[in-house]
Point group: C2
Amino acid sequence: MDQRTRTRRRNRAAIQEAALRLFQRQGYEATTVAQIAREAGVSHMTFFRCFPTKEDVVLQDEYDPMLEELVREQPATLPAVERIHRATLVGLGRVYEHNREALLDRSRLLLSIPALRSRVGENLASASTAFERGLTPPETTHPTLEVRAVAAACSAALSAAVIAWVDTDGEGELPELVDRAFLALRASSPGHHRS
Amino acid sequence: MDQRTRTRRRNRAAIQEAALRLFQRQGYEATTVAQIAREAGVSHMTFFRCFPTKEDVVLQDEYDPMLEELVREQPATLPAVERIHRATLVGLGRVYEHNREALLDRSRLLLSIPALRSRVGENLASASTAFERGLTPPETTHPTLEVRAVAAACSAALSAAVIAWVDTDGEGELPELVDRAFLALRASSPGHHRS
DNA sequence: GGCCTCGTGTTAGTGAGTAACATTTCTGCT
DNA sequence: AGCAGAAATGTTACTCACTAACACGAGGCC
């Protein structure tokens, strides 16, 4: 690997860790980008070369390629919602056991800070396109509206599960909530509670 | 009505019109808040008292109460997705005929400017809570996860329809696309096209 | 008409994000 | 190894969204 990309990644990681440390210690809005950069030992320009905005330090993740691949691995005979449901459970299982608390902390942060919450829709959108790509054969250029609608609906349901998880302060278990959210998509009647 | 609130609304409208005019003439990012305020004949502080951010001039709408009411009017025996589907069609029909071009212009703007697109998720979220309120009886305090998931999925599907509409530059008809998106939610299989 | 509240304008400030240029650091080639 | 070119980083200065504080003026209330 290149030396340049190595130091670049080290910078990226140092910035992200410094940022999260400062956010937890003194709050998101009370922390300035210059402060993060100083803590990470770089200039504030390097910060913006690694993360386009201050919010992206928290927002960016790299789950999308995994989700796409997991959806593609599910049997194509299943309905699309079911494929995405299973893929989500598998992917979640991979990070949930060892990173449950980190995932909860990050989700809490994303949902509690207005500047971050106003942008979680972007993460939903990128998860949605990952689902679309997983549903459509690789050579397809543009997914159909039907595929896009289902993918968007599934990521929205997933997001509802995460929000419910954070609402209960992480007392429930996220995979169960995800199950309930996806099941509600298939058989939904108003006022229907699980027994 | 109060004289004060009257001038306040006049200010609001003047700012919004001036802003949209300037955005169309010279682009969103090339237009500064001070410029909008000057064009509307107010100070830039008045701007921020009417709209919390520059983006909100384009983002804010008042469809949510109507959507909530329309969902509540649909027969409660129908599945939740169907109630929201019908409510959306009715509400859309009300504004679509006379404001089709304005709706298209606004949607184009929202989806083409990065600063705006990154925040459309907020509109989806508020539409989602409107759906939730329409689905749950008025005395209910917190909607169930199932209701939240369905509401979020429906607003996501609606958004997919709007995106597809804008993608074709408004050549299709939005209500048809909304139909396709909602139908895809119920019977979905990958690669399935409507016949 | 006089108090009094509330919206507005003015000013000055913070902080995110960008542009331009100097400087350092790595890479490729001989 | 050493040098030329390229690319990342730092420095400086700037724009602009947004806020805090206070002064002012226009309604509302008696």
